[in-house]
Amino acid sequence: MSALIALVVAAVTFGTVLMFGTLGEILTEKSGNLNLGVEGIMYMGGAFGLAGAFYYEKIVGEAASSGFVAIILAILAAFLAGAVASAIYGFITITLRANQNVTGLALTIFGTGIGQFTGEFMRVKEGGFVALSNHLKDAFSSTIFPDFLKNIPVIGKMLFSHNFFFYLALILALAMHFFFSRTKTGLYLRAVGESPSTADAAGINTTKYKYLATIIGGGISAIGGMVYIVTTAGCVWNHSGLSGVGWLAVALVIFCMWRPLNAIWGSVLFGALMIMYLRVRIIFIPTEIYKILPYVVTVIVLVISSMRNNKEKQPPASLGVNYFREER
């Protein structure tokens, strides 16, 4: 039982990383922009988020640093990095109407470069390593709920022991669900992604919606990268662990059928797949083979989702296509 609980907790921790990545990309794709640069965006979020917390602590001193402020600053720094990166993507695809696939790939190369560069540069500059104090590390990975809730047998651990970011992602998923299904702006955004010419003819400023969704979506995805660095990676820059996570997030969007609520359990499920090799040993399967499980599952998911044919479970109809009003 305790092994299962530990698995769930670890799955949620990693799942949170994926959830931010996926939710951000859902928002972007709902506007009809297929941003394949999530990998790069998450790298940038990781590096800048860590930098935000690290320099905050360095400036105010370890004793005076507050965990809450550090969390906020890390989120802000990551969000800004992601927003800037997707603004570049947005400018090239929305205004300059370049191919979305290639621009996304370029952003991946650029973003992983920037992330890696920043992470390395900080390490070199700070004399060998960048690490946060235990006090902040604690703040990043401990729960926000009081102990008595956490101590409820089984349920307490499963529901109330997670870090702050998980609950934030949860709220975000719910908020996005509400946004898409209940609000006017959400409806308009979906219209832009489904049929920009319709939205345009209805007087919706498609360019504005596309930009906002892409930039905010990129910011949200970037938070995922930061969460990875400050939780799973133990507050040190670790690019190899982050490699591939952004791509998984893109795949998860398809898995979730562009629905934020599905992203909750989808991310936790993939989080479990990602860390299972550490928790649930299977004698016949070597660890290295076990590690590729999430990718194999992704492939299977891709194939199965391409086989289904349901009007409601399709990508936004104009996904990946740029819009030019005077196109003949």
């Binding site: 006017k184 219209a191 939205a199 005077e326």
Partner: protein
């Protein structure tokens, strides 16, 4: 200054590259009147109205509302000026409900279904529409979608409504309903413009008619003071009974036998239902029908591009042997030496490679020929030069991307290539759509020439006058079924029009 004027356009010019779509056009739209904007395909009607709807912006000229200059930069501006356009391709989001589509883009509208529904109901009652606000668009029929479009525009309080070819996809009954609604709106003081090229509808519904020809404004007349003949004169420039040369080929013989052909699309909708006919060598068999009655599927299934569910398609060889074509791919059909040429409706998206020049496009038929892995460039190059010469294609060179050519030249490249393959069967879908009169006649002559060579020509068309003067026989499709096959020399327009909407035509309707 007449206070009755809703919109005035002065000296409007719009160019697309080198093509002048609208050349210094003046137009007045009046309140409480229905104005028909009449013109042939490609005369610039839609372009002109798109500038009122904020889709395009004029290169020159000015629009006035109530005497004040007006700039419409976007559809949003248009709505704010009270202008609403119902486009030919409906601008609706498929996965949304009617209500969601109706309120799309409105500034100060809460997503409160109750208020929306009651407001929608009020509009519907006022002009006698029927719609279910919670129905998804993808579950709707064409006419229901059109209703949603009109309600959407009215919901925004539009006083000026523009309808682009509103009847093209409607049955006569639906058309009549639409006209009733339009008359109700006119009575309500709205200004209405319908873009059309159907003369009977112009006469039936409008108060005034404005005519465009080749992007130029010809004039406006009162409907009660004009006649279809006079309007035709304005539309085409001079009084033409089309006068298409129609010689008779004496030794006609069966070339293609189609029996019980049935096709179903991805969503399980029957597109063709038991189609049976025989196309003969040495004749032009016209295919008429309302848009989307199965014309596309008919041609594509014969050429092996569309899956056939049931029925037979047999090609009759010169020796009189029958070859089954069902289940063969286009390449297999070509290899069996059947000799089928096909000019599809979507020229650049299906018949040609837009990014390649004429030579590359000639290769589309011959690329597989010859042994070995290498392409034969020489003979396509020669063919391209021949087509360039004989059909007077206007292009800088045989390697200039055909996408950049004008519509007529694109079509010449396509038809030229297909005819050069020396086919036994030549199928064409809307081959003169969007072409000017001269090019159209050039195409008619090419088809007739093929007929006189003993080729079996199948001509899918939309203009009944052309069908009646060009073809030998006309097959009428109605909802995927063969409504009847008539002799084009004796049939009348009315007869065919009736068959297009009722399977079996007038007699069948009488029996009912």
């Amino acid at each position: 200054m007449n206070s009755n004027i809703a919109i005035e356009m002065r000296g409007i010019t719009k160019r697309f590259g080198k093509v002048v779509a609208n050349d210094s056009i003046d137009l007045i739209i009046k309140k409480g009147e229905i104005l028909s904007l009449l013109g042939e395909n490609g005369s610039g009607k839609t372009t002109l109205m798109n500038m009122l709807a904020g889709i395009y912006q004029p290169d020159e000229g000015q629009i006035f509302a109530e005497g004040e200059p007006l700039t419409i930069r976007s559809p949003k501006d248009a709505y704010e000026c009270g202008i609403g356009m119902i486009h030919q391709h409906y601008k609706l989001v498929d996965v949304f409900t009617a209500a969601q589509n109706i309120v799309l883009g409105l500034k100060d509208e809460k997503l409160d279904l109750k208020t929306i529904n009651s407001k929608v109901k009020e509009i519907c009652d006022r002009y006698s529409f029927i719609i279910d606000p919670s129905m998804k668009i993808y579950d709707m029929s064409v006419s229901q979608k059109q209703t949603v479009e009109i309600v959407k525009v009215l919901y925004r309080g539009a006083d000026i409504l523009i309808l682009d070819e509103p009847t093209a996809v409607l049955t006569p009954q639906e058309t009549e309903k639409l006209f009733t609604v339009l008359r109700n709106m006119r009575a309500d003081g709205k200004a209405i413009v319908i873009i059309t090229h159907k003369l009977n509808e112009v006469m039936a519904i409008s108060d005034e008619v404005a005519v465009l020809r080749k992007g130029k404004y010809i004039g406006t007349v009162k409907t009660c003071e004009t006649s279809p003949q006079a309007l035709t004169d304005m539309m085409v420039g001079h009084a033409v009974t089309l006068n298409i040369d129609r010689p008779k080929y004496d030794s006609q013989f069966p070339r293609l036998k189609v029996e019980g052909l049935t096709c179903v699309d991805d969503e399980g909708i029957t597109k063709l239902d038991g189609v049976t006919f025989t196309a003969k060598g040495g004749e032009i068999l016209g295919v008429a029908g309302i848009a989307g009655s199965g014309q596309k599927e008919l041609l594509e299934s014969i050429t092996g591009l569309y899956p056939i569910k049931q029925g037979t398609v047999d090609f009759v060889t010169d020796e009189g042997k029958e070859k089954n074509l069902v289940g063969l791919t286009p390449m297999q059909i070509r290899k069996t030496g059947v000799g089928m040429a096909f000019v599809p409706e979507d020229r650049l998206g299906m018949g040609l490679v837009g990014s390649m020049g004429m030579t590359g496009n000639m290769m589309l038929r011959s690329w597989k020929k010859g042994k070995g892995v290498f392409l034969n460039r020489k003979s396509p190059e020669e063919l391209a030069k021949k087509v360039w010469d004989e059909l007077e294609v206007v292009t800088p060179s045989t390697s200039f991307p055909v996408r950049r050519l004008s519509g007529g030249n694109v079509q010449k490249v396509l038809v030229g290539r297909e005819i050069a393959s020396l086919p036994k069967i030549l199928m064409t879908a809307y081959p003169v759509r969007g072409l000017d009169i001269n090019t159209s006649y050039a195409i008619y002559n090419l088809l007739t020439e093929q007929k006189m060579n003993g080729v079996s020509v199948i001509f899918v068309g939309e203009d009944l006058d052309v069908l009646l003067e060009l073809c030998d026989r006309i097959l009428v499709l109605c909802g995927g079924k063969v409504s009847g096959i008539v002799d084009a020399r004796t049939a009348t327009k009315e007869e065919i029009g009736f068959m297009m909407t009722t399977v079996g035509g007038k007699e069948a309707a009488d029996v009912q």
